[in-house]
Amino acid sequence: MNNTKFLFLQTQLNISLKSPKVQQNMEEDKDLFNTKKRKSIKMQPLIIDELSINKLQSIITESINYHQDLLSQLVLPEQIDIQFTQTNKLEKFFNQFLSREYTANTTTHLSKENNLIHPIIRISTDFLKNYNQENKEILENNPLSKNKFLHEFRLSFAKSQGKSIELMTELTFLHELSHIHLNQKYLDTILISGLLENNNETPLLTQLTRNIQESFCDGLSTYLTSQKYPQIPVLDKYERVRIKTLEEKNDEIYRYDTVEVFSKLKDLKNENVVEEILKIAIKNGLNILKGKLSSKNMENKLRENLKTILNKNFSRQDLLPTIKDELLKYNPVNKGLKKDFVCHQHVLERIEKFRNDNINHKKLKF
């Protein structure tokens, strides 16, 4: 394989538009193509699925306009990029080894120029493709994806009165947007702590905060979507997805253990919705943690984690109330937060590393 073909494997780096420094008119050169050598190459179709991007864009624009009243209450930065990605054939090839598909993630970077948070929400067009909501049997017997969540997500929202794609897109977008709100509003707290994200010394606390984040994002996205589509049991369908993909681990808090959130949303009143959903999420996380504290080992781990962050010892009965009190408070531990932090480690970064490692070592053979 020559170098040109290897380029096909490289990560598509972000490129930027610049005005050309020189622009001159140029006369025709009729001898441009030697008649014997003339070679007209039909441009290969770009690997950009404009139809799918158009569809996703319409859905997201409509969602923003529809939910404007509540979204305007969120703490959001001035600029948010929504980047439409798609896996090409070669990335699908890599996906076989990684057993996952890339659907959506949010990356938040601090802009080097002005130190402001500039999040990027990436949404893949791929989960819209080949999606036939009528073929539920096919979906069940031949999963389009090895990603368990994606498979169950598609299955659960198949046959949603013709609104499957809209529902899945809105839920995904609003979920990621909810993460941005949390990051913006609670940046200097234990709940959103880059220190915790990268700190192996407080694993239990880190698991708890991740669970609360996901509970909030699941809660807000499903609440908003269920308000827009009252005829479709959005909360039940999403709950089913989380139940089916739940991973029980004795000595860990599973990040996506958000099952108990959805029933509480049904009775939610329309006032202070965002704050109420956060309370539900915190309660969910603390309940899960409480269940784990029956183990002395877990109790000691939590005590150690808290001592690392707050530099104090706590008795057993003070552990949970302390976490509840301290969770959203300003915490000076977070000063010196790294400029680039990733909210989620997702598949694309793994694909990039795997791919680039193989490029460098030229191990690939086709």
Binding site: E27, K39, S40, I41, L46, I48, N54, Q68, S72, F84
Partner: protein
């Protein structure tokens, strides 16, 4: 109804500030319509530069007139021209073509589908 690809949507917030959602392709470029076309690459002795000849249908010609290139983006194998809020995206280009644009000059000829010359532009970064 399919709407044209737009670059952004603005959310007006309660406190009077705005959040702008910028729609972007995977390569980071703002989402805008992409013009379909065929192209050829050759060398012009007369103009002493490589030239990419681009062939357009009538509809696209009207969108791009008077063919002033507003902005250019490129990577290892692609060049994107922004003309009147439309992209011409040329892919699978050889390294040397990209090199020519970056370090020397690169010509662009625009033709209609009957190979009639419309105009030519010489560009450089």
């Amino acid at each position: 109804m399919q709407q044209d690809l737009n670059s952004h949507v603005v959310l007006k917030k309660e406190d009077g500030s705005n959040t702008t959602f910028n729609f972007k392709f995977e390569n980071g470029l703002p989402v805008k319509p992409i013009i379909e076309c065929e192209y050829s690459v050759g060398y012009s002795k007369k103009n002493n530069c490589y030239v990419i000849a681009i062939y357009l249908n009538e509809n696209n010609i009207q969108k791009l007139k008077p063919f002033n290139v507003d902005k250019v983006a490129y990577n290892n194998s692609e060049i994107w021209l922004l003309i009147n809020e439309n992209y011409i995206a040329l892919n699978q280009l050889e390294d040397k073509i990209i090199y020519e644009y970056k370090n020397k000059e690169l010509g662009f000829y625009f033709y209609d589908n009957k190979n009639n010359f419309i105009c030519g532009k010489k560009l450089s970064e």
